[in-house]
């Protein structure tokens, strides 16, 4: 082989190697996209909440008590619950120790509540023509109070059965307290806002796990006032409360969290029906608000609330505000289901929002169940 041929061969090999270097790669997938907490929320899996053997989303393993209205503050789950379990199944009462272990976790797959045994009229806070809402059958149980479940040692999002954190003691409370919403200051001091027969009350504790002592008088007076939801003000100087009264959501503000000035109803355009399966909105309520910091460093209030429809179903709606006064509503519900209620958001970070909600429990819908969803729905929580 001549020298020139060898050189040409080497050149050809070099060209071929250059071609071989261009081996293909698979397409990339977008990951880590921003999200505005607008949903759609999906229920967490049993692995994500670490409550095994229960349907997706259930965050509280409590087989005996009737529960609803859960929210999480500083890792503690606060919720409304029957203070004692039902004595027996006689006359419609349920035996807490009966049934398979999985019973506690069974959510009602047909939890539309219309016409089934679990349907009870809302016992407070609704206008006379408000639709019947799915709430636990409180009358079937003993007095209810506010229970608290501490975070698990493994740090997962599931909770074990809680213990009473606050019970009714004052006359104005009418024998029961419910709808907890806890705010923890930077120094650890905790304020527990709750609803009772005569209005919205306040109990305070040195820590979120400490003993709550009621302030005595309601901070917001009035019958039919429910579901307080409190966050720090956007200016970091005070507090903002959103609560439900008469099928509307109202606003109040305070500089110290103890003395409140009521600002009146929040204007919220009705959530339009998506199709013929969505009945017309007849009232709103049960607000749950979270103060989130956006990726641009701005503070935004995100309020999730119930849009109650004429047929008794409930859509979880959302509104946002940059000033805490005027709210802009999202045009679609943030949860596909029509049977989840009492949303309580928890902002994990700029992108991930957890939403604690109440629903019916399969087999014993009157007991209720607490579930948790996440947005964006395509992520998997560790």
């Amino acid at each position: 082989m001549t020298k020139s041929r060898r050189t040409m061969l080497r050149l050809a090999m070099a060209f071929a190697l250059a071609g071989c270097s261009t081996l293909g790669t698979g397409p990339g997938q977008p990951e880590g996209l921003p999200h505005g907490g607008t949903g759609p929320f999906r229920l967490l899996t049993a692995d994500e909440v670490d409550v095994p053997g229960v349907p997706a989303g259930q965050t509280l393993f409590d087989r005996s008590h009737a529960v609803e209205g859960g929210m999480v503050a500083s890792g503690h789950l606060f919720y409304t619950g029957a203070l004692v379990p039902p004595p027996s199944r006689d006359a419609g009462m349920l035996d807490p120790d009966a049934g398979p272990p999985g019973d506690a976790g069974m959510l009602d797959p047909d939890a539309g509540f219309s016409g089934d045994a679990g349907v009870l009229a809302l016992d407070a806070g609704t206008s006379p023509d408000a639709p019947r809402l799915p709430v636990p059958a409180w009358s079937a149980f003993a007095a209810r109070g506010i229970l608290r479940s501490p975070p698990r040692a493994n740090g997962q999002r599931g909770f074990d059965e809680g213990t009473p954190a606050l019970t009714a003691t004052a006359e104005w409370e009418g024998g029961h307290v419910e709808d907890p919403w806890t705010v923890v200051d930077d120094d650890g001091h905790a304020r527990l806002y709750y609803a009772a027969a005569g209005g919205i009350g306040l109990a305070e504790a040195p820590t979120v796990g400490g003993t709550f002592v009621s302030a005595g008088a309601p901070v917001i007076e009035g019958e039919g006032v429910r579901r307080p939801s409190v966050v720090r003000g956007l200016d970091d100087a005070g507090f903002l409360m959103l609560f439900e009264r008469g099928g509307r959501i109202e606003r109040a503000h305070s500089s110290d969290g103890r003395t409140w000035t009521q600002d009146g109803p929040v204007t919220l355009p009705a959530l339009a029906a998506r199709d013929e399966r969505d009945d017309t909105e007849v009232s709103v309520g049960s607000p749950g608000v979270v103060r989130a910091r956006t990726s641009a460093g701005r503070t935004v209030l995100r309020m999730y609330y119930e849009s109650r429809r004429g047929d008794g179903q409930v859509l979880i709606a959302m509104a946002g505000s940059f000033d805490g006064v005027s709210f802009e509503t999202l045009e679609v519900p943030v949860v596909e289901s029509r049977s989840l209620r009492m949303p309580a958001p928890l902002s994990q970070d700029e992108r991930i929002t957890l939403l604690y909600m109440s629903t019916a429990r399969g087999g014993t819908p009157e007991r209720g169940a607490l579930v948790v969803g996440v947005a964006p729905g395509r992520i998997t929580l560790p």
Partner: protein, 484 residues
Amino acid sequence: MDLRARVLSSSRAAVSACAKTRLAAGLAPVFFAAVFFAAVLLVAFPGRGHAQPMDTYGLGSRAIAMGGAVTADVEDYSANYYNPAGLARGAATRISVGWFGAQPRLQLNGLDSGVDPVDGLTTGLVVPGTIDGFRFAFGIAVHLPDARISRTRSLPRSRPRWELFDNRPQRTFLASHIAIRPFEWLTVGGGIAFLSLSANKLSIRGDIDALVPDRGTRLEHDLNADLTTIRYPQAGIQVDPMPGLSFGLVYRGQFALDSTLQAQVGRPGVDSDTRLHVGDITIPAYFDLLSQSVNAFVPQQLSLGGRWSPTPQFRVNAEVTWVNWSAYVSPIGRSSIILDIAVPPELADTIRVPGTIVGSEPIAANFQDRFVPRVGVEGLASSASNYELLVRGGAFYEHSPVPDQTGLSNLVDTDRLALSAGAGLRLTELRPVLDGWLSFDLHLQWALLPERIARKSSPVDPVGDWRASGHIFGGGLTMEVGFR
């Protein structure tokens, strides 16, 4: 022969003969040039213009190492992109092959956006000749990506996307140009470039058993994907008014890849060949999704550059490019959805079909024009009788043409500052094996995309505020064989 002068002073050689030729040339060169330009313009304007993935990352290691500032100073195969007039500068036949890669590290809110790298084979050639005593050259350049020939993406309109880096560079590029040198001080070039385009249609037909979908469902599907080309022209000139100085001007038109994606299930009407089976009941079904968008719009551009060689061993290039981004067509397209299922009355309470499914409408992009400054330097670091070693550096700055994203769209982009460096080794004494040279050019490039923040006007924006930033790392090697 002084090899340094041969490498670095092609313009000097051209200009040295310039004075002789100016006087000798008559009307023939002018006529030839006029006809040539007319032909280029005829090709150029009926179409929608031109551009290519190289707009983002460049073509050829020498040019990229010099920041792309080579409009007035290019004569290898990369002239097919930077300025086709440069093809006629040299008298040697050149064959080039190389590899180019760019790895974006682009983030939204500190999380990787998953923007795909762009890498692949680049190759090209320059073949000079003479026609009636005028120098003439033909050139061709190809960029063949590793991963795909073409890619079509039709994203939800609010989905954040790195508009200039995500899908646009994922294209095959082929360009062929011709150039002439009617005078020693003037070269003119033009031609056509090709880009790949795809249009897809998916059809599904068959039976779907609503009760036992695993066993009772039989479906067939057809997928038609047309990979077609878009052709667009470009033209440029280079002028050498005096030794050591040259200027270049190149025009690149605009083009757009219209992307159509259609998915059909069944046919409209009761005779649809796709049916839902619910027990003994058969329901004809029809679904049609049509998505139309512009997938890779590249705006028209005009680059004006200069080269100054104070010594034969050193040159400084500078140029500015006007980019007509204000004509940008938004990639957020139009979509329509039709769902037609004739549910029998006995199943009306079980199967609910929405009456109307609202599609989407395009959202205006409202980009702004920009001027891109570029600088590049090249110097001779070392030489001997059989080799030359050149070092290069360059930079450019691109101001983002994308307006603040305060609404529903999320076209992500930031400014870009790119710094590059490179080296070239030319082996010049290869006879008797090769009467020419063999060169290797290497480039490295780093681009900084400083943080940009989007603040949404709506507190319930589905995406919310975001912060975008990143880096792009690039590199490549080009090997060239020159035949004297």
